[in-house]
């Protein structure tokens, strides 16, 4: 009999009941909640007179709507100027209080972007099923967990039953072998992958990242990659368990200790795809081929390398993509054949659940150190992923490096990733962003987003246009 993939194992371990129609009831170990996709779920519980099934499986924190300037944050919820944003955060607070769910509120140092907070607290553990009403829940798969985004009705379903009705997905392996070049990060690897397989390449699949380049990658890099599995159409991204995973998890507040740690380690060792496991599809990539990536268009698959030019219509794979390219040239204000290094930036954003962890900030600070943000750049924001990341960075003096270089050092939250608070792009502005989506209007009405790694974003801030970090 053929071996099992990591996904097969995780799936099997969580099946409560299989149904005749091919769906299964899957047990959920952890649900993370935030203010945008939970209010209607709590409302549903209340209307039906239901109670959460298991309180301690849930953890909540506001992130999307929280303001990120120190002044606004001073007064907690009352500091939120936008009344509509405020209602959402207040509603999360009151729902968590009413139902008895642990929440890291705005003034709590542990508050942050859910996908940064979960792993940081050890609330995301290997072998778990993790869900959240947010598509970037795929991030948590970096811990050899089965993690995916769900809609609000499913948030309610998990609150009420601790289960989800699921259908098993296909197995897709992205194998990255070899050694990554200097300055190449998880962000470049995952953008390169999306460029190859496209934004629908992983539809219906659980995507495992394997190969020697992934094995030697840090947890931060792995989280960045899994985070963007959804941009390749896969609800689930995963990396097998190893020493690097264990090292990261150990000692975190929710992580097991003493005898339970040994028990857990014994179980976690098996959280790898067997050597003879069969995948429905395998994509092989050579690490040496990967250069710094920059998206030029309005979909993450519209990506190219720093030394290249904006693709021409002849580069499109079919007529649908050709039409997409034409719209993107227009929206982005770019011409086919234009050099990527000629794209000038109005703003720079370093943050989001993709790239706001300590390693990301260190990489950006390395570039920013002793340099200055170009005068043509209106604003360069650094927004740490959580209060604890912020504290760590300040302890290392990274905040000073950024501030001296002319960056703004902010309070944790989603911020300019989706512009639900005051941090947004103006119409027509170009932004080098470490976030995950370059859709039209994502970072503000008419805003033009270019997705890059933290080091590339910092270098672009200094130069005023895109530059190759490898030569910086």
């Amino acid at each position: 009999m053929a071996g099992k993939t990591l996904y097969d194992k995780l799936w099997q371990q969580h099946v409560v009941k299989e149904r005749d129609d091919g769906t299964a009831l899957i047990y959920i170990d952890r649900q993370l909640l935030h203010e945008v996709t939970s209010p209607q779920a709590f409302e549903g519980l209340r209307i039906a007179g239901r109670k959460p099934w298991r309180l301690d499986a849930n953890l909540a924190t506001p992130d999307h709507n929280v303001p990120t300037t120190a002044v606004e944050r001073e007064s907690g919820v009352d500091g939120i100027v936008d009344p509509v944003s405020k209602i959402q955060v207040v509603t999360l607070d009151s729902n968590c209080d009413e139902f008895g769910i642990t929440e890291f509120k705005m003034k709590d140092q542990r508050q942050g972007i859910v996908h940064v907070v979960g792993p940081e607290q050890g609330a995301t553990l290997p072998g778990m099923t993790v869900v959240c009403g947010d598509s970037h829940t795929a991030t948590h798969g970096a811990f050899a967990a089965l993690a995916h985004g769900i809609g609000t009705s499913e948030v309610e379903h998990v609150l009420a039953t601790q289960c989800l009705i699921q259908r098993k997905m296909k197995n897709l392996l992205i194998k990255v072998d070899g050694e990554l070049g200097k300055g190449i990060t998880g962000k470049d690897v995952v953008l390169h992958v999306i460029g190859i397989i496209g934004t629908a390449g992983g539809n219906g699949c659980a995507m495992e990242f394997g190969g020697s380049a992934i094995r030697s990658m840090s947890m931060e890099g792995r989280m960045t990659m899994c985070n963007m599995a959804i941009e390749a159409g896969a609800r689930v991204g995963m990396v097998a368990f190893d020493e690097i995973t264990a090292e990261y998890v150990k000692g975190r507040p929710y992580a097991p200790t003493a005898a339970q740690w040994d028990m857990a380690m014994a179980a976690w060792k098996d959280l790898v795809s067997d050597d003879d496991a069969v995948f429905d599809k395998v994509v092989e990539i050579r690490a040496e081929d990967i250069k710094p990536q920059v998206t030029w268009g309005t979909s993450p698959e519209m990506v190219t390398t720093i030394d290249a030019t904006v693709p021409t219509l002849d580069d499109a794979r079919d007529s649908a993509q050709r039409a997409g390219f034409e719209r993107a040239y227009d929206y982005m204000g770019l011409a086919a054949g234009q050099k990527i290094t000629d794209i000038k930036l109005d703003r720079v954003f370093i943050g989001s659940c993709t790239n706001s962890r300590i390693e990301d900030l260190r990489q950006a600070a390395d570039i920013a150190k002793g340099r200055q943000v170009a005068s043509s750049v209106m604003q360069a924001l650094v927004v740490p992923g959580s209060g604890l990341v912020k504290a760590q960075a300040e302890q290392e003096g990274l905040d000073k490096i950024f501030i001296e270089a002319g960056f703004e050092w902010r309070e944790p939250g989603c911020s300019m990733c989706l512009a639900m608070n005051a941090d947004k792009l103006g119409n027509g502005e170009h932004c080098a962003s470490t976030s995950n989506r370059n859709f039209e209007g994502r970072q503000g009405y008419g805003g033009r987003t270019h997705l890059v790694s933290p080091a590339m974003a910092a270098a672009a801030a200094v130069a005023g246009h895109f530059v190759d970090v490898r030569e910086f």
Partner: protein
Amino acid sequence: MKAFTVHTGIVAPMDRANVDTDMIIPKQFLKSIKRSGFGPNLFDELRYLDEGQPDADNSGRPLNPDFVLNQPRYAGASVLIARENFGCGSSREHAPWALEDFGFRVVIAPSYADIFYNNCFKNGLLPIVLSEAVVDGLFKAVSGSEGYALTIDLEKQLILTPDDQDIPFEVDAFRKYCLLNGFDDIGLTLQDADDIRQYEAARRESSPWLFNAG
């Protein structure tokens, strides 16, 4: 949830691939804590010429005359045909809420993003997958005849065209059952509460660290 049995409605064409959820309902409208009222802001950035604000009156806003849903011939449309990878991007259920609130009951496309597809069924919206060729044929038919309408029979899993063609479609048996009856699947899952408790007890025994508080 509204039950879905047979539905007849005017078809509107959304002729672009990878329509993402930010396009279906831009993020400023996600600030609502309600499930309804999103219809006027469906496709907001395509539909209006100015920037939409939550809780604002939309009636006086300048409409983009080129946008398909603003054309009189598609007034009252309740069936949307679209291209590949419809609904990609975020998990926001506000996307199907907005489509449903606008009046759509059916979407037809060659493929969908998984989460969006799933979310549709929870909200009485039927997403149908047809081959690219068949969808393309529908696009041609719609543009060729004003008032083009389709009848969708979920029980029989058939789409009836005005020229009496039957187009069969696939749908998951459980989802079909819930949609036909307008069932809330939480209630159905809770019928298995004993199985869940049993599973949970065994898991607590074998993996106690999963039940620790921080």
